[in-house]
Amino acid sequence: MIITEPKPEEEIKGYLEGFNKIFIIGCGSCATKCETGGEEQVKAMAETLRSWGKEVTGWAVPEECCDYRFLRRDVIRPHKETLEAADAVLVMACGSGVQAVAEVTGKLVVPALNTVFIGVTERLRNFHERCRACGDCLLFYTGGICPVARCAKGLLNGPCGGQANGKCEATQWQTDCAWVLIYERLKEQGRLDLFLKPRLPKDWSAWSKPRERVWR
């Protein structure tokens, strides 16, 4: 899931300066689960905007904000007039959602959230980063623990000198050293040969330019 968090209200207020009629779009998927762009948060945002003297022309929470098809079905068709009447659209979704809204509606968009990472949900409001979408998955070699996402330096051959007692210096010792976790996991599985094997420099070419996949 894509983890998002709200931008500070003052920042949003600044973006909306000069715009009076606002349409709000949330997201029925990740941002709903994150409680950052679900129906409840969209309604609360509408109240906030009114308290700033704005007119909320309408709002919608599409099934997924990053999917053009849901945007057409859940936003454009049912809310055509109120959407058109707005000076700006405040989007409470991840960065992909904001851009999808810009592309599909052609409206001026204002992001209300920061997109922070691709993560897992441990329980409500507890998310942890697990994947950096590097485009060349190496989880087989690392006991199912990703060093690209979970090592602060993204090292392929850790641990580094910044670990002590299995904790990471870069997070002020708040998170586990991914490479100590990998060591423990592979040891448990009797696969320390994988740990010992040097991993050669990663081919970042699959990652380093804009990506798309169009299958026919």
Binding site: K153, G158, P159
Partner: protein, 314 residues
Amino acid sequence: MAEKPVYSLFMKNLRAGKFVYTGEAEPHKTTDISDLIESFKALKGYVIAINVTDNPTAYAYISSLVASYLIQRETGIEAIYQVTCRDRNRLAITSDLLGAYALGIRNVLALTGDHPCVGDNPQAKPVFDLDSTTLLYLIRRMVDEGVDLAGNKIEHPPKFHVGIAANPNADPIEPELLKIERKVSLGAEFIQTQCIYDIEVAKAFLKEAERWKIPVLIGITPFKSVGMMKYMIQYVPGIKVPKEIQERIIEAKKRGGKEAVYEENIEIFTEMIKELKRTTRLAGCHMMAVGFEWIVPKIIERVEGGRPSYIEAL
């Protein structure tokens, strides 16, 4: 087995089984390192080479390549050019290494580098395109095969001796040892360790290191003051300073102020190095006395009973 080629005095002395000392120069955020150079001139004949740090603890300082060149040229002591992966990708590192060889540098220490968040520009985007292991692999390919990482041919390939760092204080130690083994399998030629104060930690590490069959220099960092000792204990990950050493330093301070602290340092590390020379296969010591380099010859003289007898020509 064919004799491995030797490109530096540092390696020549190690191969000949000489007990060697290296120093550590930490150039700062400045364009003038003449004071640093002056302080190292006094170490000529005592240290066989000087490590030159690359933006240590992620502080943006004068380039370690430039400083390595200047120190080597002005002091006549070989540099061990430290290269980290934090600030440069494989392109930049490749070109710096080519430049380093052109400038006469023959020893490189391949490091990962501290995370920018502990440094003086914590907003920086970390690079880490390579890590210490893959950097070592790059250098081996440049030296052994005359190509870069992508296999592109180098005209006049460089010849370096490449070393690695090790942290004998690491807890847990097993993944650290396996990591070193990885690098030895790729062709690391020497090891310089983080500072060690607990002689038992040093002995245990040196015992492990025997199977790698490459020279190990242990890190020695004397305490400039009681405050510095307390800082190291509190903030440097994994540093263990035995109670006895702490007490000796504190006692010395009470007894005779900072002069007595210096003298106690010389005593403590002389005892430690002598004991390790006697009981282990230690190849040398890496003396990190940043800011009070003058203490290094004093320790060495007391251990060796004079200047070490180095081979002075390639």
